[in-house]
């Protein structure tokens, strides 16, 4: 099976800081891939390179065989790659429904977008369907600025889905979110994956990653140190080294070793 997303020895330095150093990664179609690593290991920079926000100094990014190295974010999105941000980024002064409609517009020529109304009934129905899918339909008319942090994460996921991307990159979907919502997010990702969507997920919550992902890649200091199934990653000594080697996240080592089996079965705390 060919890789849907292929990152080929990408490097990027910010001044003297080498954020990515010959980093390679493959995400197979139909999989949920995880990307973990200590803070500062280059995960978000890799996301930014893949989605067109940061130009790599060297290396190639291919999406479904198409070279998208250095393409604009709008073009990468147009080719079917959606992403969410670590610190959620929504349009605070637009209503939740209007937020959803921003992404519906990617296939439009400029003249049609000037002449046409904001949205068609079909697009609004589709947007409401997706809001229902993430449980935000009651807030459709409210300004997005009033949403809580967790709700913003859900909205960000929903409005990326509007454009029906083939692969979605999630940057810490579970960060700063309460446990019941984490379960809901995991559940939504599984449901979407069952329909054929591919995911690449950056996350520090090991239980979340180990239960959700088919394949986990571990980064450290700008490069990939190991890649494999969750079981392989749990037993890999290099992973523990990466986390223990001077990182303040040593407690994660225990979690990596544990099986985290209590995650992912309905809503906790109901």
């Amino acid at each position: 099976m060919s890789a849907l997303l292929e990152v080929d020895s990408v490097s990027r330095a910010f001044g003297g800081l080498v954020a990515l150093d010959g980093c390679s990664l493959r995400v197979e179609e139909g999989k949920v891939a995880g990307l973990i690593g200590p803070n500062g290991s280059g995960k978000t920079t890799l996301f930014n390179v893949v989605t067109g926000y940061v130009r790599p100094d060297a290396g190639k990014v291919r999406l479904d065989g198409v070279d998208v190295t250095g393409a604009s974010p709008a073009r990468v999105f147009g080719l079917g790659l959606g992403r969410t941000f670590q610190l959620t980024r929504i349009f605070a002064r637009l209503s939740v429904l209007e937020n959803m409609l921003v992404a519906t517009q990617r296939r439009e020529g400029w003249l049609r977008s000037v002449v046409k109304g904001q949205s068609s009934p079909a697009e609004r129905a589709r947007a409401m369907e997706l809001l229902e899918f993430v449980g935000l339909e009651r807030l459709a008319r409210s300004p997005a600025g009033i949403l809580s942090y967790g709700q913003r994460k859900l909205l960000e996921l929903a409005y990326v889905l509007v454009a029906d991307p083939v692969i979605i990159l999630l940057d810490e979907p579970a960060g700063g979110v309460n446990p019941s919502l984490i379960n809901m997010i995991a559940d939504r990702i599984r449901a979407l994956n069952a329909e054929g969507k591919t995911f690449l997920v950056v996350e520090h919550n090991m239980e979340f990653v180990m239960n959700l992902c088919d394949q986990v890649t571990v980064m450290s200091q700008g490069t990939v140190i190991v890649s494999g199934t969750p079981d392989v990653i749990r037993k890999d000594a290099r992973v523990l080294d990466a986390y223990l080697g001077g990182s303040d996240e040593d407690d994660l080592a225990d979690v990596v070793a544990g099986d985290g089996s209590e995650v992912g079965h309905g809503v906790a705390g109901g």
Binding site: A74, G135, S148, S180, M184
Partner: protein
């Protein structure tokens, strides 16, 4: 179950109730009637003269807002388009040897088109920058154009200025012709602004205002969207400048390209409510008529600058959102309180807001609602 991520769960705000929609439509119709009837009711030349300037600035502020208000890119250089429109009409009248009269008004749209053409290269350069840098670049462009008007004397006659032909109208009718020409420009500006606001590309513009990079990551071609809005905005401003020039009768670089225009339209939109359709209309109607009144009454032409400064401070401190949105919010809150009080009285639905949990659970049990 109290999932804190889902707690503030306010009842969905109705998009706009039928009553509210009728109130709104009624207000627009009433404003239209007032604007059409005004010079017929108050026909004193001093008053209609104020009214002409006021309507011109209502159009200019509306047009400015349809770019800067929606996109969040504050342009302090729209006098470039106002002056270009003014010079276009003056040069057309000069070189085509047009006689004063209605004929000249037919060239007003052409002045708008010239402003649009100028807006393309200016926009392409200025829009490469963001926020504060953008403001500075637009100011720089403004000065470049003022200097050009001074120094390209073979074209613009430099500081001597250009005289426009005097229309043959006399008495009360004189100002009225200009008033209705300005009103047509105003209607065009408002329709364009409303059109932009309710189009797909207008939504993209608002998305850019809130978070440009995020919008780009959702497929919005940001440079193109900003440039189109900038050019459309230049069109109405250019037409406003053309009517203004013809009304004044002669133009000079320092008046056609004046920094006071740049500040005035921005303050008008800020005062009324940035990014709303009625806000700039309200702001311009208030400020421009006051300014003209003081100029006529006290002949202290620059006194209004103090008033502008003071007003700007008041707006920023007391009404950061502008008058129209503040009033609308106040009304909505009052309305909600009243509805809530009525609900409490009947004893239903009092107490905590219903939790979202049932919804959430249903959504999860029925599985994904996504099918393609």
């Amino acid at each position: 179950m109290t999932p804190d991520a889902f707690s503030p769960a306010p009842a969905p705000v109705p998009s706009s109730s039928t009553a509210a929609r009728w109130t709104k439509a009624g207000a627009w119709v009433a404003a239209g009637i007032v604007l059409i009837a005004f010079p017929l009711v108050f026909s004193t030349p001093a008053v209609t003269s104020i009214a002409v300037f006021t309507v011109i600035f209502m159009a200019a502020a509306t047009a400015w807002n349809s770019f800067s208000g929606y996109s969040g890119y504050i342009s302090i250089g729209h006098a470039v388009f106002f002056g270009s429109g003014a010079y276009t009409i003056a040069l057309i009248a000069l070189h085509l040897h047009l006689a004063g009269g209605y004929g000249i008004f037919w060239y007003v749209p052409l002045a708008g088109v010239v402003a649009m053409v100028i807006a393309v290269p200016v926009g392409l350069i200025a829009l490469r920058t963001r926020r504060h840098t953008f403001v500075v670049i637009t100011i720089a462009f403004f000065f470049i154009f003022q200097l050009l008007a001074y120094n390209l004397s073979s074209l613009t006659k430099g500081s001597a200025g250009i005289l426009l032909p005097t229309p043959p109208w006399t008495g009360v009718g004189f100002n009225q012709h200009f008033y209705y020409a300005a009103l047509v420009v105003l209607v065009v500006a408002v329709l364009l602004s409303a059109g932009v606001r309710h189009s797909r590309f207008g939504l993209q513009l608002l998305a850019i205002r809130d978070d440009e990079d995020r919008a780009a990551g959702l497929g919005v071609k940001t440079t193109r969207v900003k440039l189109i809005a900038y050019v459309i905005s230049a069109f109405s401003v250019g037409m406003a400048g053309a009517v203004w020039a013809y009304f004044l009768g002669d133009i000079h670089p320092q008046f056609a390209f004046t920094p006071l225009f740049d500040l005035a339209v921005a303050i008008m939109a800020f005062l009324g409510g940035l990014g709303t359709i009625s806000g700039p209309l309200f702001g311009a109607a208030l400020l421009e008529s006051l300014q003209q009144y003081f100029t006529l009454q006290y002949s202290a032409g620059d006194l209004y600058l103090f008033a502008y400064g003071a007003l700007f401070l008041v707006v920023i401190v007391a009404l950061p959102k502008g008058v129209i949105p503040t009033v609308a919010d106040g009304y909505r809150r009052w309305h909600e309180r009243r509805t809530q009080a009525m609900v409490d009285k009947t004893g239903r639905m009092s107490g905590a807001a219903p939790p979202l949990a049932p919804n959430l659970r249903t959504a999860m049990e029925t599985g994904p609602g996504v099918k393609r």
